[in-house]
Each structure stands twice: as structure tokens, then as C-alpha cells.
Symmetry: C2
Subunit: 356 residues, 2 copies
């Protein structure tokens, strides 16, 4: 059953659940804001649904609740962070904030992190840079779940990549994608509904395309986005998030959801920030160019049944405005994930089903 909740209350709930599990107040607040923001975008696969997994690892010790990420190597326009196995959101925010500060001085900056954790939606960090007036790019590696062209099993992680482009007073252009054709969650959902899937979503244990969603994840891997193109981009992300940072690579990254909750996952992450306003001769000049592009996309002729072309992120920002005004309707799978935590917290709520 779905449930309607105010964004602030959802964030409060997440903060309390994380703090109760051992995160210090500051870390709990950072991760809670990230999760609630992601839900407000309507990206429910990467919002508060992740909370039980994070709580489990905080309790198990695989996520450190009170270790601050710190700069362990740096230069004028870059830094490598030791994430200290803190919540991935804490590492991601710290990495992007470092990148933003350095890019303001140097024009561009790269900040990578080792000893991170699953950091949720990459777009959250990219959007943070755009809100500060910079182009933000965020990426992370993950344990392999995606095949390469010709492979018999997974070779790379979904290795998310997100970017955000500041658009003056308007919403940033915002894209957040995995290097697989679709997210694993979509394959699960099709299986739960008993639906066949298109033949470019997963490949079976022999490396052949299949439409049988039940095979995933134990007997199938996700297919790479656009074949060799997604595979190739996943290796770029692996190179920047893990090879440059010293994070675990590919199979050495721990599975955050099902793996031993006492063992750090050793994810890698990387953030870039670019001070495009400085490059373009001022924030107004850049914003004007972005607006020209946005207007052009909106004015483009559309296929039958399509009202208007959307910019990447346009739907998410509209979702967020509605969520802030009217609350979020959490889908049933998210509600089911959160309900046991509400019982443990003895959370007074009318939006989550509670044990009698």
C-alpha cells in the first residue's frame, strides 16, 4: 500500500533511523536529506527505500557512523579523500563540496574518494554543484552486475554517472544514469508482475539475451547500455572512481545490500565541478546560453502524442515542487521497507502501517 508523507517528515524519519543505528547527528542529517530529496524527485529506487540496508550496515559496523572523510592527497585542483567507510552520502557530499571549493579557485576540480559506501543517487551530488552555480559531474563504481559485450557474466558495476548544468534561476539540467540498459530494480519489478522483459535488458549465464526476468540476478547479468558504449563508459567511471583513488575495483567492491554488514564495501566515488560561469565570462552569460538551449528544446517539433520535449531532470524538478507543496506518495515497496524501522523506532506516524 502506498503512503502520503510530507518531505520534511520523511527526512526526519530517515535522520532518526540512521542516528538510532549509530550515525552521528551530522551524518544522519546529510544522508536523510539526500534520501528525502531523491524520493521527492520521484526516484524511489534510490531514496528512503535504501534506509534498511544502510541501518543494517551501520549496526554491523561496515558503515562507520562517526568517522569524518578526510583529504589524504591533494593538489591545486584535485583531492583524494579517505572516506573512512562513512555513509556514502557523507562521502559524496564532502567530495562534491571539496570539488566546488577548489573549482571556484581553479576553474575545474576533481575530487575522488576511496573507502566510500553505496552513495544512492549520483544526481544528488551533481545537483549540489549546479545549485552553487557550477557544472557538477558525479560517478561511482559498484560490484559487478553488468555484462560486457561477449561476456558470460557481469564484468562492471552499473557505475552511475550524473551531471547537472546550472540554469540561472531555473532548475538545473540534471541527468542520472546507470551504464546498464535498465536498473536491476526494473527487472525485479517485471518479475514480480510476471511480465516478460525486452531482450536487451539482461543476458543469461551463457551470455545470451533473454526475456526471462526470473533469471536475474542469480542466473543473469544486466545488459550494458548501448552495448560496447555503455561497457566502455563504465570502464571510464571505474578508472576515475577506483583506479585514480585507490578504492576497491570491480569484484573487490563489497555488495552493499546482501554482503556481510560488518565488512566495509570499499566503494569508490568521483566528483568534478566546473566553474562554467568564469569560463563563459560571467554567470549571466552562461545562464543566457543555457536558456537558449532550453527554449530550443522546448520549441522542437514533437511526435504525435508528445506535448513537449523535456530537458533531462525536468520531470524530477516538477515532481519535487509537487512533493514540497503536497507531500510525496511513497509507493508500496518503499512503505514496506520503512515499516519495520518505524516499529523499531516506535515512530508516531499516521503514514506508515504499524504493528498493533
Amino acid at each position: 500500500m502506498s503512503a502520503r508523507v510530507r518531505v520534511a517528515e520523511l527526512e526526519d524519519f530517515c535522520r532518526n533511523a540512521l542516528a538510532r543505528a549509530g550515525a552521528c547527528d551530522c551524518h544522519a542529517a546529510i544522508a536523510a536529506e539526500a534520501l528525502a530529496t531523491t524520493d521527492s524527485w520521484g526516484v524511489f529506487t534510490h531514496g528512503s527505500k535504501l534506509l534498511p540496508g544502510y541501518v543494517r550496515r551501520l549496526r554491523g559496523g561496515g558503515i562507520a557512523g562517526d568517522v569524518e572523510p578526510r583529504v589524504e592527497a591533494e593538489g591545486p585542483a584535485w583531492a583524494i579523500l579517505d572516506g573512512g567507510s562513512a555513509l556514502g552520502q557523507v562521502v559524496g557530499v564532502r567530495a562534491m563540496d571539496e570539488a566546488i571549493a577548489r573549482a571556484r579557485r581553479s576553474g575545474i576540480a576533481f575530487v575522488g574518494a576511496r573507502r566510500s559506501n553505496h552513495f544512492g543517487a549520483a544526481g544528488y551530488y551533481a545537483a549540489r554543484a549546479a545549485r552553487a552555480g557550477l557544472v557538477g559531474i558525479a560517478m561511482a563504481n559498484d560490484t559487478p552486475s553488468v555484462a560486457a559485450p561477449g561476456s558470460r557474466g557481469p564484468v562492471t558495476g552499473t557505475n552511475p554517472l550524473a551531471y547537472a548544468i546550472p540554469a540561472g534561476a531555473g532548475d538545473p539540467i540534471l541527468l542520472d544514469i546507470a551504464m546498464s540498459t535498465v536498473a536491476g530494480g526494473k527487472v525485479y519489478a517485471a518479475h514480480q508482475l510476471g511480465r516478460p522483459i525486452p531482450d536487451d535488458w539482461i543476458v543469461d549465464r551463457q551470455g545470451r539475451p533473454t526475456t526471462d526476468a526470473s533469471l536475474y540476478p542469480h542466473h543473469a547479468a544486466l545488459a550494458p547500455m548501448a552495448g560496447h558504449k555503455g561497457y566502455g563508459l563504465a570502464l571510464l567511471i571505474e578508472s576515475l572512481a577506483a583506479l585514480a583513488t585507490g578504492a576497491a575495483m570491480t569484484t573487490r567492491v563489497g555488495g552493499w545490500m546482501f554482503g556481510d554488514p560488518a565488512a566495509p564495501t570499499e566503494h569508490g566515488a568521483a566528483c568534478l565541478a566546473l566553474d562554467v560561469a568564469a569560463m563563459a565570462g560571467g554567470a549571466e552569460a552562461f545562464a543566457g546560453r543555457v536558456q537558449t538551449l532550453i527554449d530550443e528544446v522546448h520549441a522542437a517539433p514533437t511526435a504525435d502524442g508528445v506535448d513537449r520535449l523535456l530537458l533531462p531532470g525536468e520531470r524530477e524538478w516538477a515532481n519535487r515542487r509537487r512533493a514540497l507543496a503536497d507531500g510525496i506518495t511513497l509507493p508500496a515497496d518503499v512503505v514496506a521497507a520503512l515499516a519495520p524501522l518505524a516499529d523499531e523506532l516506535d515512530w508516531k506516524t499516521d503514514w506508515l502501517p504499524r504493528k498493533p
Copy 2:
């Protein structure tokens, strides 16, 4: 009819053709090396086949044969070049070399260019950074030929993106991709052979998928790679190559092949270089990590009929080694493109068909 030629002779031919058309010796040499290298990779769509188009624009004045690109704005880790409408290869090389030099000081650098031209294979510039020990990323915008999800016509250019990762003494990992499902050249080729094409290559004037290759380009647009993902990445490339640099954006970019040869195309380009060796604590440390990744990919189990997984670029570097040892077999379409230039140059050759 195909033709066999030594790499050095092909490069010499390109240099002479460009110089005869008005490029100064230095520009002709830079572009010739780029075109011959691209052919040696086996990427014949972006090698010397482009020569007649460049010669036409040099003669027409749309490409300036003797204007040096110059830095017109800069900061510690970035620069914006005025490309001066020089050959795109000259602008691209200058941009990447500036990025390499600045990244050696700052750790990372961004160099964008306005008033560039069609620059051929983006991978050439990325590989240049990798040969210098840095990660290189190169991109450019182009006049729209690719649909967006739901559009009735082209919205973005193919907007190529390439990266290269240095691998110690080994060949760099190298990927060079367009943001369309396939390059327009593949659609032309299918049409010439009278073959139907898969339904995710192009969309017709109503924005519907079609398998009729004859519609492209006048009555169809290329489909974006992986739908909204390719569309979104194309807009990132547009933002960095054009919005940040002040280059022409989307429809304002001139068509380099069929457009008025006297009018500059005003392409934008952008290069990033990252000193990953510094970040990783030394070139050896980084090379070791890359080798681990390469070994892991090579050891991955493969589907039936697949000997070994390839790293991006592995096939191209093998082609180049063969080309340097045994020469390049230029396909018939390239030979046909070059033959008229050989007549004009009165080029003494046994590898191009000459008028009697």
C-alpha cells in the same frame, strides 16, 4: 576498389593535399597525422575520407589555413581558445596540449574552444593525453542530426565523446563514441547495399522508428544511443563544448560537409586532461591498477564463439600495429574520395587509380 598504402605515404598525401589547398605546413602536418592515424586504427569513416571536405572548405575560406588558435580567456586550470576557424584537428591538438600542460601543474584541466571546425576522430585527442601519461577526454558538438526521445526531427548533434586511459607501457584504453545509436555512415552503407536496418537506428519525419535506410538524412534523423541516456549525454557535451566556450550551439553549427564552404562552421570542442598518476601516488601505481583491470577483463568468462573480452581500443591498436608493419588497406569508398585529389596534385602513386 580497395587499395593498400603505407601509413607514412598516406600521411604525406594528406599533408600535400591540405597544403595545396591553403593550409600552412604546420597545420597540414597536424591534420595529416590525425587523419592517417585514424585510418591506421581502422576507423575509416573519420580518416583520410574527410580530406575532400576539408580541402573544399580550405579553398572556400570557411577553414582558415594559417590562423593560429589562441587563448582568449584562462584561469589556473582552464582556458578557452578562439580556434580562429583553423582546421578542427589543429584546434583539437592545441586544446588537448594546453589541457595536458595545465593538468601537469594543477592535476586536472579543462580547455574548450570556439570557432573550431569538424575535428575528425575525438579519440585522437584523447589518445594524445594518454600517451603523455594522463587521462584524456575529448568532445565536440555538431549540427543536429540526432533525434531526442519524442522529437519529430534532429535536436542534437552526434556530439562525439572519447576518452583514453594510460596503461603504462601498454596501449591506452580508448573509447570514441557518438551519442547516436550508430553513425550516419552505417545508415548510408546499409542503403547502398540495399539492406534494411534495425528499428533503433533512425526515426522518420514523424518521430517513429523505421527500418528504411533510404530516408536518411533528408527524411529521418539518427536515433539517440539508449534513448534518453544518449540524448542527455549529448546535452552535457553541448554544454561543455559550446555553452561554456561560446561556440555555435546546435542548429547554429554549420554543416561541414554540405554547407557553404566559405562560411565558418563555428563548431565547439572541449578537452579534459587528468594527471591520474599524481592522484594515485605515481605513474607506476596507476599503471599497476590499470593492468589489474585489463587482466581481469581478459580473464572474464566469455559467451560461446567469443575468444576473449576486449578492452575499448584494443582492436584499434592491433589494427595500427598491423598498419605500421604492413600498410593500410583503404576501403573502396576512401579510395574513391581520394582519387580526384591525386589527379589535382598530379600525385605519383601506384595505390590510387589515376586518370589516364
